[in-house]
Symmetry: C2
Subunit: 333 residues, 2 copies
Amino acid sequence: MSLRCSVVLTTRLDTARIQAARRIIDPVFLHTPLYRCESLEPELGCAVSIKLETANPVRSFKGRGTELVASRLAEVGPPAVVCASAGNLGQALAWSGRGRGLDVTVVATRHATVAKLDRIRALGATLELVDGDHELARDRAAAIARQRGIRLFEDSLDIETCEGAATIGLELVDDPQSFDTVLVALGGGALATGVGHVLKELAPDVEVLCVQPLGAPAMTRSWHQRRVVTTESTNTIADGVAGRRPIPAVLDDLLVVADDAVLVRETSIIAGMRLLLDHAGLVAEPSAALGIAALLEDPDRFAGRHVVTVVCGSNVDATAYHRWVRPTRGRGW
Amino acid sequence: MSLRCSVVLTTRLDTARIQAARRIIDPVFLHTPLYRCESLEPELGCAVSIKLETANPVRSFKGRGTELVASRLAEVGPPAVVCASAGNLGQALAWSGRGRGLDVTVVATRHATVAKLDRIRALGATLELVDGDHELARDRAAAIARQRGIRLFEDSLDIETCEGAATIGLELVDDPQSFDTVLVALGGGALATGVGHVLKELAPDVEVLCVQPLGAPAMTRSWHQRRVVTTESTNTIADGVAGRRPIPAVLDDLLVVADDAVLVRETSIIAGMRLLLDHAGLVAEPSAALGIAALLEDPDRFAGRHVVTVVCGSNVDATAYHRWVRPTRGRGW
């Protein structure tokens, strides 16, 4: 890793711009809790800190990025924007756009988490549903942007999404604690490349470990093969990271900043959500439990280390969530 | 209320000391999330903001106060301290004392929340259990302090507990949003008098509304009758506020700073916990759901207002919590 550190980072991100972003983003999304969570540690066998991105008006980290784009659109236009979203980006864009008088359209799959769709509508955005998966929603958002001549906002490709996520990295680096590993959910790659860029530039000894579900492995496979690998379908409850077509420019950045990318099973994601609820008092959506899932699957790898996991969202459908976390027989009922 | 504002506040608290306290308390307990939570609002009929005190190493606001006393003990001694606790104060004192090499003893009732007792032990404190309720634990802690010649740390009576809680008030006042009402859990009174003092001094138009369970009404009855009223017993799941013997000096302060004190039913506390979980993605222990319970019981009182409720703790036993929040028939199962 020290060899890698000695070279200048060649990603699309720029640390000075990320630092400047902190002055643009609504403070309600910044300086989120970061704390050691010892009650998780007996089950996980390593020191665990939580970076909590759920205690804000949209219950995910996505507001950091949508604040940047909405602020720029409010200044220089156009005053209308469309994005495809599994639900969290759309909710955050709706929130940031509403406060600035922007016309926001969100395209999502009909199979998305209902609570996310309800919140997008409640925040005043136009919601269009497609009969298909997230990649179809991406295609449809692009078509709408072309037809209407409005801004297409693309998660992970558009630099604001990465810069917003990267401000989490600044907060990790600012903390007086030192970490061995940062666990980040891997989907389109904005969170991983954003956080990873800052860490590799300012704290290069910290391992950046990306975690993706086995049921949606496109970006992880791409990272390992150093070329874009797509998949035919996805099959995971972690809706927030269920892409099939990695974006080449994002993969390029990820190859620079990630130390490793691992895949985890659905049962581990559920166990992770349950552990966060029962031992840390935290609601995590499936994508936000990927880090804990990785710790559960490979305890030897992390033994004796201090890891921080980014709990990146808590938007769940209540019914599904109760089913995931309800105690199984023999666990006290 | 404007008449009340024109007089100098005559409580045991001092705003300059509270401001100074922020420089002593570990930052992990400060500047906690404060955000509008619109997803709660359709059910509650008013604008609701959350002040979240659970995303820290001890999952309650109590660390703010224990940091103050532990810091002073580490400087001037004695190096040993004992407190009675329903579990949150003891856990926080254990945390603050461990970092400063203090000898911490916690006395609790044998019927306390098991997760709280486990955390007190895990943090290295000596835990002594009594066969009785919280008032017996208070008596026993006082006896230990006399016998061993160590510091007795008394919740709500000792000014550090009130000053620590009062730093929450500073954060509320610092926020650019304006609130009509602040809902605080009422137990011994540290939270209510601390937050109340700051609000009445710096934002006197904000209503300070204390909420206590019908099953543990001693301080609320005392406030209404303007004299100490004790009760024979308590009967509530809100263990964090289940006292029977209000402290006269704390009642005196509460009479100065509280605008009202109300009692809520157990069913409303449970409904509040469920609402916070299902609509806000937040785990609240019963005491931390008292504010939402008050909103549920008297929606007309709050219609059209902007309230902030302090979610003051999330330490629950997993088994009991799952029982409280599990969906009832007809709610999606």
